[in-house]
């Protein structure tokens, strides 16, 4: 795998990883507040 392909994959994974992690944090916070 060339650096171009590796970095392209990393960029897309990082974008989704961070966005989903933040969504998860908000949903967990919601569960905590409801208790």
């Amino acid at each position: 795998m060339t650096m171009e392909h590796r970095n392209l994959v990393l960029a897309y994974l990082f974008t989704w990883g961070l966005q989903l992690a933040y969504l998860g944090r908000v949903l967990l916070g919601w569960r905590r507040v409801r208790k």
Binding site: E4, L8, A11, F14, Q19, Y22, V33
Partner: protein, 238 residues
């Protein structure tokens, strides 16, 4: 909350799925950079959202400052919008910075340089990190007011970020859109770009609404517990 999740999440995911398909399988390969240019379809929309949501933060902060004495209920709602938009801004700006570095290494040969655009975006990122640290770790009644004032500094940086590649021609590529004659992208690349703009906008809006609802709920819980402790204090005093 549930309605935002039931309606907003599937809509945002559907648009982003089309955007992903367009970016990876439909958009043509760029002639000089090759496939690494496909980072553009996530990098640019993330940065646009990172320059859009600070203005939501600014408007909410101004409403908070204007109404914090005259209408505290409205001020609290505005503060919740400000907090939600600040967090979402930080997520988008972080993605913009990291995807930019991942693009830069194979194209420029370096991960980072102190170019006008990169530096002004880093300043924006640092302001929002400070904003959230201020809100998280300061005690006392002035936290929200100080945060609202800090958001004005962030809003001042946003036009500098936007104009940096027009005012100073350094390392970052020249403006692709609204850059004058001879700029723009291949029309076959536009659908991928526009789908991702729409998708990340819908996603960002959904996150702001979810985070706003959560903050409002937290404010209500806090108010109720303060009221309960006041009432129990009065009973003890009797």
């Amino acid at each position: 909350m549930r309605r935002v999740l039931q309606f907003g999440l599937p809509v945002a995911l559907a648009i982003l799925a089309v955007g992903f398909y367009q970016a990876i399988y439909v958009a043509p390969t760029e002639a000089t950079m090759g496939n690494i240019q496909r980072i553009f379809y996530y990098h640019v929309p993330s940065n646009i959202m990172g320059l859009l949501f600070p203005y939501v933060n600014l408007v909410a902060s101004i409403v908070f400052l204007a109404t914090r004495r005259s209408n505290p209920m409205r001020a609290q709602a505005a503060d919740a919008v400000a907090l939600a938009s600040a967090e979402v801004t930080l997520v988008f700006v972080s993605i913009g910075l990291v995807t930019g570095m991942l693009w830069a290494k194979p194209v420029w040969g370096i991960w980072w340089t102190w170019d006008a655009r990169l530096t002004s975006v880093l300043v924006l990122w640092l302001i929002y990190v400070s904003y959230l640290l201020l809100r998280r770790f300061t005690a006392g009644g002035q936290t929200q007011t100080l945060a609202a004032v800090l958001s004005i500094f962030a809003a001042v940086d946003v036009p500098i970020v936007y104009m940096s590649i027009r005012w100073w021609r350094t390392q970052h590529p020249a403006p692709v859109f609204f850059g004058g004659p001879g700029t723009g992208i291949d029309p076959h690349m536009m659908p991928a770009f526009l789908w991702n703009i729409a998708g990340w906008f819908a996603w960002g809006l959904m996150l702001v609404m979810l985070r706003y609802n959560l903050e409002r709920k937290r404010q209500h819980v806090e108010q109720e517990s303060a009221l309960r402790s006041l009432e129990s204090g009065q009973e003890v005093a009797r």
